[in-house]
Amino acid sequence: MSADVPGVDSNVTAGRRPILSVSDLCVTFTTSAGPARAVRGVTFDVYPGESVAIVGESGSGKSVTMMALLGMVANADISGSATYRGSELIGMEVSRLRHIRGSKVAMIFQDPMTSLNPVLTIGRQMSLVMQAHQPDLSKKAARTRAIELLDQVAISQAARRCDSYPHELSGGMRQRVMIAMAISNNPEVLIADEPTTALDVTVQAQIMELLGDLRRDHHLAMVLITHDLGVVAGAADRVAVMYAGRIVEQGAVGPLFADPGHPYTRGLLDCLPRLDERHEIRASIAGVPASPMSLPPGCPFAPRCSYVESRCSESEPFLERHHETLSACFVLAGDGLAAAAVDG
């Protein structure tokens, strides 16, 4: 099946199995105001060493998707499948899942200011993460390793920083600490959930560069969640664009940027040149994102779409081949336009 996926470099996939395979994942929150269908049938694979970006506006279900596969979503119905190296994560007991979290699949979060415990030193928090997966690691060894890791993420005076508290560090440094913590158990997959959104523009670039370096050095697979298509170009091999809990377009970075098959992707790209500030995307595509509490009957993007036709509000489109990407749009994709195949 992987051979059919456009945009997946055959060198990467040849003879290889995905590390992470998500298939038809659905997450429905039970809220007091009724069910909220935050994730509705998401399917994607992550192969060893590659970087996949998940892009979409706020509320499209990016974080929930990744949290669900680590078993970190409460008060929700979860269906579908997510496997790490073949073992099913959905429904796995927490006691077993714990050995995958932070050890095989590590995650870093958006806000480094709140991601660290204010009353424990950096070194102690890093040691706790290491000792969670290496119970025999001595205090001293953990500290030595923590200093080494801080060095690796380019924190100066690592030994001194080890004894610092989070409030003594800048936002960028804290995010570096988070990254050091995430790689401390040599994971195979790093999920970065908007790792730079909360940071200064200058620091953003440094953090992205650091992630890129680490990915190369450690042969890490990465899932990069972001609002910002601008970040994606240099940092990802493939992109999945999410809207209203679904992947609406998926493909390799080049083709997806050059010839998007979904009006939503086009919208996101159209605002790129003007995107010198953060948080601009939402303002640039007219209309409000669909709410997972009340989705329209057909294509959830139809109310905001300039290509809209009558069939768009009748049924929801699924991913189909559009040139070199897969797009879920009746109008632009699947119209027989997609004659040229990538790997044909």
Partner: protein, 337 residues
């Protein structure tokens, strides 16, 4: 922070002075006549005795003069002489203070240990049966009158079951350990008197539990609430995402933060317990400052009453200071500022 603490220490005498003044004035405003307790009901009709007593205790002076004298002595550390014991109030208080402090410390320990334990249990099992049971047990403590609870446990564990000794700090026929700190548990250990230590601990269990149980409810509620707050924090989610054991997430990550608000109320708890000690000491015939205060108010023993109040105020100021220091030590964000 250091500067702030220095100022705090510097204004303490002023505050104590204020407390002493207020109590002095209030005590002189009460219509009751202290002569009754000085000379006794019978001698009140004997003008000679009354005149002698008035002269001896300085009651002929006007209130402002009495106040000036009192304050002058207070500065020298003299709290006056008790009408009833005829001893310097300061000596009385110093004799009795260790008994009260020992009781209160153990009660505080019991209150905090059980309060934190129940709070953690309740928070981890939020809205489940264990949560409700833990909170109920804690609530009983704060709602049962200490007097009643004291009699009840004495009846059950002393009179009925005979598991624990009755009122008092030690058995009636025992001799107190030689005075070093005045804490019988500590002194007996310093003297190497193991059986005395066991005895004094046994005597402490009931009164300290009754007293301490009163604050278990407060601590439980606070710890539960702040722990639940911490559970919704991002760093807890991160710790879980990093694969930490739930036990580590709760005990090492969340509890550290959740205990900060508890530390801030330890001073308040201590004051609360000191007040509560008055009743508890009475029920358990505990020879502390509490029962002394009860006696003093019954007899209108002004010097003793004022002395106890000043001591109470002093204790309150000290505990508040210690609380602030403890908070600063526990919270690195404050420590450095």
């Amino acid at each position: 922070m250091k500067r702030y603490l220095a100022i705090r220490v510097a204004v303490m005498p002023l505050l104590l002075f204020g407390i002493a003044s207020i109590v002095f004035v209030v005590s002189r405003l009460t219509p009751a006549d202290p002569l009754v307790s000085i000379v006794g009901e019978r001698n009140l009709t004997n003008p000679q005795i009354v005149a002698a007593a008035r002269a001896r205790w300085g009651l002929n002076d006007s209130v402002p003069v009495q106040y000036a004298k009192y304050m002058k002595n207070l500065v020298k550390g003299d709290l006056g002489t008790s009408f009833t014991t005829r001893r310097p109030v300061l000596h009385d208080l110093l004799d009795r203070l260790p008994a009260t402090l020992e009781l209160t410390f153990v009660a505080l320990l019991i209150g905090v240990v059980f309060g934190v334990g129940l709070g953690v249990l309740a928070a981890r099992n939020r809205n489940r049966l264990i949560d409700h049971v833990a909170r109920f047990v804690a609530l009983i403590g704060s709602s049962l009158p200490a007097f009643w609870a004291g009699l009840l446990v004495l009846y059950i564990f002393y009179a009925r079951l005979g598991w624990l000794p009755g009122p008092g700090r030690i058995d009636p026929r025992s001799v107190a350990p030689g005075h070093i700190t005045g804490f019988y548990t500590v002194d007996s250990l310093l003297h190497g008197d193991w059986s005395m230590f066991v005895q004094s601990v046994k005597h402490l269990i009931l009164p300290a539990s009754v007293l301490g149980w009163g604050v278990v409810g407060i601590v439980t509620r606070l710890v539960r609430a702040s722990l639940l707050d911490e559970f919704s924090m991002e760093y807890v989610r991160v710790a879980r995402a990093m694969g930490l054991r739930e036990r580590t997430v709760v005990n090492t990550h969340a509890l550290r933060n959740a205990l900060l608000p508890t530390i801030t109320i330890v001073g308040f708890l201590f004051a609360f317990l000191l007040t509560g000690a008055v009743l508890t000491e009475t029920v358990f015939s505990w020879p502390g400052v509490g029962s002394y205060a009860v006696e003093a108010s019954r007899k209108l023993d002004y010097p003793a009453i004022i002395g106890v109040t000043i001591l109470g105020g002093f204790a309150f100021l000290i505990t508040n200071l210690i609380t602030d220091i403890a908070y600063a030590v526990a919270d690195p964000r404050i420590r450095l500022s």
